[in-house]
Symmetry: C2
Subunit: 578 residues, 2 copies
């Protein structure tokens, strides 16, 4: 991944090159006729107004007490939207997630979506905002992209409080014996700022502490973010915060946040943030947007609390996971669903004709020209993702995010190939037509849920040794011949298992652009080796990060950042935010 | 100032040693019967509900459009609460400001207060929260202390976006020719974190940029905070953000934020924050809390927009300024009122018997014992502050923040001395009794306003050379014989004047514990010299910071930080936050 890539959650909407829209995303969103959020909550979800904490008139947090009162209700159906191995512009997962939600409401179902909150960093970098695209957006778009209800700022503050307490502990005598070379807890800022990736801190003499190598990640890469998204409730959040391993002593004994007495204050900072945020789609359907962990160093899904709340509030909950299905869906299933006891009912794999042609070997500049052979060749990528999802026992269907350059012959070829795999393939034009454009997809989703009961199970058992978990994913999902690692990784595996972390799931950080660790290997590469570079323990989030390749935890800004073009007009309207 | 002092705005409430309260501040605040903020806005200020942007049920932002619609209304009376040279625990300015507001309402006046927002840093450090004390508090106390409506996070993000754009500009070719040794813009975090005071950034090789010396301040020390608080409206805010000087070229040419095309994005981040926040006192009277710049590197007052809004909404607006009157009131008058065209009607100087005895030479441990002679001797400090405020043409009265250790003889001595100065001295027990305890003070304030028209004028003219402005303050207010500075400061004065900054007011950063630059020189030292160490240009905030002594822009945490004791209970209540 290049140092200028903005790899933060959530994904782009596949909007560049889509078609020549008469309006930009921000223009469409600003023209939206929003309803007061308390009205959306009451009319669409039956939530009385007093259980919505308003943040302005169009955003609100759903009170956790109210959600707890729904415990006896049956759960709705859980729909995961994932994607084939993406192009750098993304294939439109968020757009499809929002469009499908509107489509389900359009055909008369009670549906909501659960999305990740966008990070501020990418807003000012390459991508601009992230809240869907075209006529499948969540609104108020500017608010969602900028600060929203303050959750990420709260997460950043909790992360940085812990960091300050660590260095303060060392400063005042270091009674826990932290080895300053082995402090693994980094500070965060919700900004693309490459200058902070690697720093030396505590310079300037005695009163500023003990100098050491240090660095910042973007807030979405914080373990606090992952914990926030995996906690089952506030008590679990506090417990997990205390469990964070911040570093080690010289004797390699783990030091936890609880030993620094940090968990209570960190939890106090997250007390309001932990309640899920409610907004609406352009068609006034409910959208819960809560949490947004990176999909490399973390699991790339919105919060468990949001998803579980959604399942009590609606009959259909549409959610998404970062990157392609090899990373996003795998982590959704093996980390989030496993730990939270969720049972996904169906998976929608989003693809574009354009991306299939890219996997079929077509160069970026030639993607608009018809090329049926390339679609057929590129289908091998989609085919493997279909097979992978089925290995989790979850029914699957394919949704094509429509572009104006798609030709009938290309579509016909794709339909034929999908049919051979026994999978529905539905074109969705939610980008151009909103819910009406996704009505066919919505019907297909409902039909699949009714016809094919999910037999969800994670890919591997908790008891499998950590290395075997990685090997299973590599062989079963990535088509790899094997994994490889050196003796230092081997002893780290042994160390983690000895310390009692062997039962945790693994969270694989590798390029999202290939099934292999070579981002240029398109299609469905086979027989390759997945080399493990590093293991990182997320003891509070309860997974072991397995780094297989470059891992970007602090993006940079491009030469001409989006920030240069953002303006606020005399009418208070923001322009330039996509 | 020691490295563990939490010198952030606003001041402490003078609560330690006050008297043995049966309840802590947080217990009193949590027992408050709050009214929905839209009800407070409507019933107390006549603001229709649609002009309040709610943040939960008890906090709201007042729409700027609505405030603009009040332009034709006459202004209320403006009351400044300031203090004598403080003890480290503070003398209770915020408590008195809140209490006086309740007192004015208690005697039937339409009054509100305008306060600074607390910083997160001190909450986890020595002081705990800052929202008044005892029965003179603003609520919801935990929310106000933690995140509130997100203003400080927005200010921090705007500050750090500019920082990222600076290093990004250098990374991509540095066409503006920034000298990386002369980049003066620092990053911020709203945390007491001494490890970040002095760092080297952009380490780690080519892709991370050009290594340089760098550092972080606490968010309240950001020039963005000062700009936020001095801007007259949103357009002025954008203009000032563009005017920020971020550093210089090798040839010492100033580079501004506008040249980095940063102002539009920074303004977008501040779009919601710029509207003033409305909360309530324990007695359900309106309190506007907005902005909170440091009182050393900046001017230590809440936002101009908040104060001007207050003057349109109420008949009496009670506000405060950081530190003692030599710093806080001087900056309030010479920077805020001068630039915003405000006319203060009366000044209340808060004193405590305890602090007078300290200025009279009594050691900290002996302050509880009666000592009339020390009160008489310490009065010289109060006397000078009284005279100083009168030099601005503003009527003055003294308010004694009552402590149980105060004796009748001490009070009698103080009353006699005040009478000799022709100034009212009123005991206020707002800490113990809320508005009823401040009714006498409220009556005295109203009477003073009616009897003594303010003839406010700043201390010095815009046209005076910068060094002469400093000299005027030093001689007229600090009792100094003169100022001193070396040739490098002399040429910097000349440089600033040549660049067109000679008309700006000066913002003096010196210890708040003495009229001199020696924090141990209590009472009213005379004939000393004020040495100027450094000049810093705040071109966006439009003042020149004159550093006279140590200046703390990033506090540290103490050995046992308040953070260690903060907990969130099973009922969701926070304990340990004072």
């Amino acid at each position: 991944m290049s140092s200028t890539t903005s790899a933060a959650a959530p994904g782009a909407s596949g909007k560049d090159n889509q078609h020549l829209s008469p309006k930009s995303d921000i223009e469409i969103s600003q023209a939206a006729k929003m309803r007061p959020i308390v009205d959306v909550a009451r009319d669409k979800l039956g939530i009385p107004a007093e259980h919505i904490q308003p943040y302005g008139h169009y955003k609100g947090k759903i009170a956790l007490d109210y959600i707890a009162s729904l415990e006896g209700k049956p759960n709705g159906k859980l729909i995961l939207v994932t994607a084939i191995t993406p192009t750098p512009a993304g294939e439109g997962k968020t757009t499809t997630t929002v469009g499908l939600t509107d489509g389900l409401n359009y055909i008369g179902k009670k549906a909501l979506c659960c999305l990740r909150e966008p990070s501020l960093g990418p807003c000012f970098g390459v991508k601009g905002g992230a809240a869907g695209g075209g006529y499948a957006q969540v609104v108020p778009m500017e608010d969602i992209n900028l600060h929203f209800t303050g959750d990420f700022h709260a997460i950043g503050a909790a992360n940085n409080l812990l960091a300050a307490l660590i260095d303060n502990h060392v400063y005042w005598g270091n009674s826990l014996g932290l080895d300053t070379r082995r402090i693994s807890w980094r500070r965060v800022v919700d900004m693309n700022d490459r200058a902070l990736r690697s720093i030396v801190s505590s310079l300037g003499g005695v009163s500023n502490g003990f100098s050491r190598e240090d660095g910042f990640d973007i807030t979405v890469a914080s373990e606090v973010m992952a914990i926030f998204c995996l906690a089952s409730d506030f008590a679990d959040l506090q417990k997990r915060l205390g469990n964070i391993v911040v570093g080690q002593t010289r004797e390699k004994k783990n030091i936890r946040a609880s030993e620094l007495k940090a968990a209570g204050s960190m939890a106090a900072l997250l007390k309001d943030a932990i309640a899920p945020n409610l907004v609406q789609t352009l068609e006034n359907n409910p959208a819960i947007i809560h949490g947004g962990p990176f999909a490399n160093i973390a699991h790339g899904c919105n919060s468990v609390i949001a998803t579980k709340s959604g399942l009590k509030l609606a009959d259909y909950v549409v959610t998404e996971a970062g990157f392609g299905a090899d990373l996003g869906a795998e982590k959704f299933f093996d980390i989030k669903c496993r730990k939270a006891g969720l049972k996904p009912d169906v998976t929608v794999i989003v693809a574009t004709i354009r991306a299939l042609k890219m996997h079929g070997g077509v160069a970026k500049d030639d993607l608009k020209a018809e090329n049926v052979a390339a679609v057929e060749k590129g289908f091998e990528n989609l085919k493997r993702h279909i097979g992978n999802v089925r290995k989790f026992g979850v029914p699957v269907l394919v949704s094509i995010n429509k572009f104006s350059s798609d030709t009938p012959a290309e579509m016909e070829a794709l339909n034929r190939l999908c049919k051979a795999e026994g999978v529905d393939c539905v074109v969705a034009d939610n980008w151009g037509s909103g819910g009406a454009g996704a009505a066919d997809l919505a019907r297909a989703v409902v039909q699949t849920i009714e016809a094919q009961p999910s037999k969800f199970k994670p890919l591997y058992a908790d008891e499998l040794p950590l290395a075997e978990k990685v090997r299973t994913i590599a062989k079963e999902l990535y088509g790899a011949a094997d994994i490889s690692y050196d003796s230092s990784i081997k002893s780290r595996f042994a160390e983690l298992e000895k310390e009692g972390f062997g039962h945790l799931p693994v969270c694989i950080a590798k390029t999202q652009y290939s099934f292999s660790t070579d981002q240029n290997a398109k299609g469905a590469p086979s027989g390759h080796t997945i080399p493990i570079r590093e293991l990182r323990l997320s003891a509070g989030a309860e997974f072991v990060v397995v780094v297989c390749g470059d891992i970007m935890t602090m993006p940079g800004l491009p030469k001409v950042p989006a920030a240069n073009n953002i303006e606020v007009g005399a009418d208070g309207r923001i322009s330039g935010l996509f």
